[in-house]
Chain length 381, copies 2
């Protein structure tokens, strides 16, 4: 009779409408039926990306879409600036270097957000930088950075701004066009409430110029072929049909709710989670730049962080995330993204309290849940 609760920063829980869509008999992709699906998906994606440009749907996970961004923009020997404040920022550097691109790394202390002014300095110091690779929400640390401000810096240069919005798109504000983001990359298993398996990528007019001149080898991820196909409401290769049909359901839900409400819900869940964590006497890992997507909290002294996460999951069915890379065992992360609401957060905090108590951590039982309830029950002012 175990009941599972998923509070992880990807995959996030699936709405029943999405599950139902995936259980339908499959349709062929070169049919008017599927063209209607593709058209609807693309319109919904433009709404969520807040762009009037094309958003491409790739059959891959988020990392594939990140690779697509790098190889469609740059050539071997080009220079890029990669902002590295966690595991996913590092991925930009790794991909660039894998393709012989000279990645100038801007290291940001894990748990801090990058200073847009620092990016400006680097761009001035090295006019050879052709692209700046950033992360909207660094899932490994729970930090969000100010993409709008970075966009204001990068737009005045020759460089393009690329945003990894895998965590964050459809959960926290990101205005692709208004914020001058030249490429925004995302994935299906986070704010979009789907299983993993789809990557998304938007392309600005400034980015298209690079796409058309870049010399990195590419075939499966070639956006020129994707564009040619999309103009005929088609895909260059067999698309992940079932996931795209499910995407339509998820996008329909988001549009019905409106992005404004979606963002508000995420903000409230984040506020409540942070309040709960603090009420339990725990410390936020990134107090100054905490993301509304996932909350990272420090594991208190004397408590085994890996055991905490494991017990919550294996004994009580509540899956949160532990720390990654250098944060392994040092933080735990509670996601509040996608198809998660108020009472999921309450359940998650309650389970955290239960296991912390069992592990001998001293606090007032119920304090976390109470703090969260206070946020949720506050009338919107």
């Amino acid at each position: 009779m175990r009941k599972d609760h998923l509070l992880t920063p990807g995959p996030t829980p699936l709405p029943p409408q999405v599950c139902e869509a995936m259980a339908r008999p499959i349709i062929h992709h070169r049919t008017p039926q599927f063209q209607a699906v593709l058209k609807q998906a693309n319109e919904g994606l433009k709404y969520v990306f807040q762009t009037s440009g094309d958003v491409f749907i790739l059959a891959c996970s988020g990392t594939g879409a990140m690779e697509a961004a790098v190889i469609n923009l740059l050539s071997c020997g080009d220079t890029a600036l990669t902002i590295q404040g966690g595991k996913f920022g590092e991925r930009w550097t790794e991909i660039c270097r894998g393709y012989g691109i000279n990645a100038e790394v801007m290291d940001v202390e894990w748990g801090k957000a990058v200073e847009p002014g620092e990016i400006e300095k680097r761009l001035k110091a090295n006019p050879k930088i052709k692209a700046v690779f950033t992360t909207l929400c660094e899932t490994s640390t729970g930090v969000s950075c100010d993409i709008e401000a970075i966009g204001n810096v990068v737009k005045n240069t020759e460089a393009v701004l690329v945003v990894d919005a895998i965590s964050g798109l459809g959960a926290i504000p990101l205005a692709t066009d208004a914020w001058n983001c030249d490429m925004v990359v995302s994935g299906s298993q986070k704010g979009l409430m789907l299983p993993p398996g789809l990557g998304f990528i938007s392309v600005s007019p400034k980015a298209w110029k690079l796409v058309n001149s870049a010399k990195s080898p590419r075939y499966y991820f070639d956006l020129r072929a994707a564009k040619k196909a999309l103009d005929k409401t088609d895909t260059p290769f067999t698309p992940a049909i079932t996931l795209i049909i499910a995407l339509c359901e998820a996008l329909r839900m988001i549009r019905e709710d409106t992005l404004e409400n979606v963002f508000m819900r995420h903000k409230k869940m984040a506020d409540a989670t942070r309040a709960a964590v603090k009420a339990l006497g725990l410390e936020l890992f990134a107090p100054a730049a905490a993301s509304d997507v996932v909350t990272a909290a420090k594991v208190p002294q004397g408590i085994d962080g890996e055991k905490l996460v494991k017990t919550m999951r294996d004994t009580y069915g509540v899956t949160i995330a532990g720390g990654q890379s250098e944060l392994k065992g040092k933080v735990f992360r509670i996601a509040h993204m996608g198809f998660i609401e108020e009472f999921d957060i309450i359940a998650g905090i309650s389970c955290l309290e239960k296991v912390l108590a069992q592990m001998g951590y001293k606090f007032q039982l119920g304090a976390g849940v109470k703090a969260a309830e206070e946020i949720f029950n506050k009338t919107v002012s």
Copy 2:
């Protein structure tokens, strides 16, 4: 009240067990639960690939897995032999050239199978060929080629043999190890009875040597990273969780049925389809090398081939495939692959008869279905 019948060479119809698996709540991929799934999937894949080596699961469509084969084996400037007897053979050439690999093309007339002896000659004439890229079943023409014989040729050289078995794996015989196939590439939406979105790739010890020395840039598709992860029952990037869970269901069905029965069923359906087509006075497109996966037949004179396919689909709900590239309008293709059985074929032939009759083609109504029934009702000798 429209009821759809899918007789296309990918996607193929989904078994209800697969649909049900995809409708389940999602689980997280870094958990013992998912590790058990991954382990089961890998064991099942080894059975279907008939290999003792690793089979990697990639989140991409078949073309992505083809690209993975090319870039993990070869470097810019290397020479490869690509066998081109249709649209998918051409894809090998395009991918190689996209990565600066010198593709020596062996053109085979569309509708004919490559002669293994010709491959031997080319390998002798040019010892610089490091890889031979072939296609088990060329979906665009309905031709199968003799991979076993090609394997016997290639194994005595320095070159590796790469087989695109996207169409054919889990439907017609392919013994990866016994036939000396160094890399076999496949996809989920054909014999494996799943939606598109997963790519598969096996690697022989001979191929591993090249994988470890190849210099093509790669990150998302890097099999060295995939191997490192698989050795810990993990994946380097977020896997397509839902599709992999569904894969377990499909593999379980195949194992319960046994590959022998699966192959026999496909052969019988192919025999029946070919007999039906001939009984209608139609000509097979590839009589000498017809695949047991998909039957291509010539559109008779005076009949609009595209309209035939469109009417069957849009008016009667029976989706078969038309011709691709140079065969557009000239052939139609009926798939008998995956979760398709006897009575699906009967329904498909019956609909073909209905629309041919409406379009004014002269034949004896019922002749196709009768010929198919005769094959299906024959006792196994």
